[in-house]
Symmetry: C4
Subunit: 204 residues, 4 copies
Amino acid sequence: MAERYYEPGRLEAFSDGVFAIAITLLIIEIKVPHAGEVTAAGGLWPALWHLWPSYLAYLISFVTIGIMWANHHAISHYVRRVDRAYVLATIGLLMSVSFVPFTTAVLAEHLPHPESRTAATMFYGAWYVVVAIFFNVVWWAGIRGRRLLGKEVHEQGLQTISARYRMGPIGYLVSVGVALVNVWAALVVHASLATLFALSEREP
Amino acid sequence: MAERYYEPGRLEAFSDGVFAIAITLLIIEIKVPHAGEVTAAGGLWPALWHLWPSYLAYLISFVTIGIMWANHHAISHYVRRVDRAYVLATIGLLMSVSFVPFTTAVLAEHLPHPESRTAATMFYGAWYVVVAIFFNVVWWAGIRGRRLLGKEVHEQGLQTISARYRMGPIGYLVSVGVALVNVWAALVVHASLATLFALSEREP
Amino acid sequence: MAERYYEPGRLEAFSDGVFAIAITLLIIEIKVPHAGEVTAAGGLWPALWHLWPSYLAYLISFVTIGIMWANHHAISHYVRRVDRAYVLATIGLLMSVSFVPFTTAVLAEHLPHPESRTAATMFYGAWYVVVAIFFNVVWWAGIRGRRLLGKEVHEQGLQTISARYRMGPIGYLVSVGVALVNVWAALVVHASLATLFALSEREP
Amino acid sequence: MAERYYEPGRLEAFSDGVFAIAITLLIIEIKVPHAGEVTAAGGLWPALWHLWPSYLAYLISFVTIGIMWANHHAISHYVRRVDRAYVLATIGLLMSVSFVPFTTAVLAEHLPHPESRTAATMFYGAWYVVVAIFFNVVWWAGIRGRRLLGKEVHEQGLQTISARYRMGPIGYLVSVGVALVNVWAALVVHASLATLFALSEREP
């Protein structure tokens, strides 16, 4: 009873589709200021400005998922075939990524409210811990036993990436802790992690 | 007047797109707790916890559709060409899959309410019976007369898959019956069917 | 200043993406019955049954767009290169197809109301006239001067398809006229047109 | 520590996906007239007519993004490999394009209201300035140092495109200024820019 291998092409295309949809759905959580409220509130410009938490949450989530997509994309540089465990791990990762529009909307809704913004920021960061863990599970499913890898892959390259990916859950866990003290500092941690993962894509 | 055959590539890409969108749209049915309600209800954490039926329904539907996608993906291992009947059957399958975000939202809305959760769970399960029947129709449209199959396909492999797919409508029908007695047991049936189909992908 | 030609691959993929998203977005217009209303209205089953106009509109639109996709797909059997006019015509077609979730939601909302359902059904049908005209424009942009066609294409095959596509605007115009007399008869016209286009795909 | 290059295929597919979703999501911002309101307002036809600002905003945005997609598509005629900077610039472009359904909904909501339509049209135009700047950043990231270009690319062709793309931010800035004087004239500027970019795609 041999394990069956698939070409990874369709799984990649499906994953790219889910990433693309999740990232684009972020926008539908930003609510348009209605004409009635706007005249009461002193015009459209202040009403649009008032939505800054939504813009900020949109920006952080879009860039974070975009860079995750680019790094996920990098995995397929190494993983040349996929088996059932890899497919299931990827479905788990996609499930966690597709949930981000919800955590982003929670963050945007509660960021202006001092009494709930700490919880919202912790929830937002904690979910990225889950996403980052699924990222590691996909990577582990890809490299374990080296059966799914291309022949020319060097052990050292794998370890560099493994070390980098392991930073994900830890980094987002730090953001959760920082949010307990200061919400804005936690968002700086999110921006820093996105930057770090964007730059660290350099050397495989 | 000969029947025309197509390469299956674009139908696969279209199907993958619909699966990817249907699975990602599940999230927009989860409603963000508003700032006003939250302070009244004792904070954001209880309000987020209160959404557990939405999370549960999201999780079951995402994994179920994800595994259906992976199994649908497996069909194309056998079906090498597509004809009109196969295209129409696939449109029917996609129609049924795209409806799942609605049945999921019905389940999530009514799961906490004892007076309507039995009906919601039966409705949710009954729709998967429809999806599973369309799955069988696509498979039958693919294998009948063997005209669309690759030449190296063994009869035994086809029969193994046919038997496995036939379990789908029966399994979801069981979940509908179980829901009449106990809603939570019916959800365990759903989780079990997802697990079963995930594992049974092993041997073609 | 020579006209530039493109390979049609990316335009096809983009079109398939827009078709797939428009068809899947149909579901988000169906509103979930809330727990409060349901207990007042005698349970969930009658409330779910009460949504039959939404299900009917979803079914007709999904199948209609699905078959349009399949027929659009058939165009690329003939059109091997694309120029600017063809790209612009395709953007127009996609614009009209993406509007269908709105006309579908209008139909579903007003179908149960005798005072507005005639207008809703005429609006629904009239928009398909627009879609069908864009379909013809894309086809004309593809075959005019034969510059974008494969070399082996026979004149007779083109004329058969041209005649079939010309039936689209006429057929949907008939549905608009029929809606003036009887709404349900107009929906039967829609179902008949979908069936006709599904069957007529047979011979190129 | 060498810079890694990727094949552009997956980035293109991902970009096409985001463009396709953003363009299709425009429709969900158009709100269906409810049965109750409609009978009060003199029937469905006037209620549907009353939505003309939504149709106009939908039309302008769909065509604008559609033509942007076609031009973005043209970039890949030149850019044969992608590096990290190009990937990040593309994520920025996609972030700006995905935001357009929001600016479109703001325009549609406020166009009928004299007191807020100037601000809405300026906001709408100003965001396209941002989109057009990201477009230029992607182009610059693609051509700088010529390392990502195909070998047969002529310097003159690049300069023609650079000049054309530079017109984008300027043109949309003009639309913002015109909106200060007259909202409708600003929308004519938008239509003219779309036409201009559609036609200028001709010669590379």
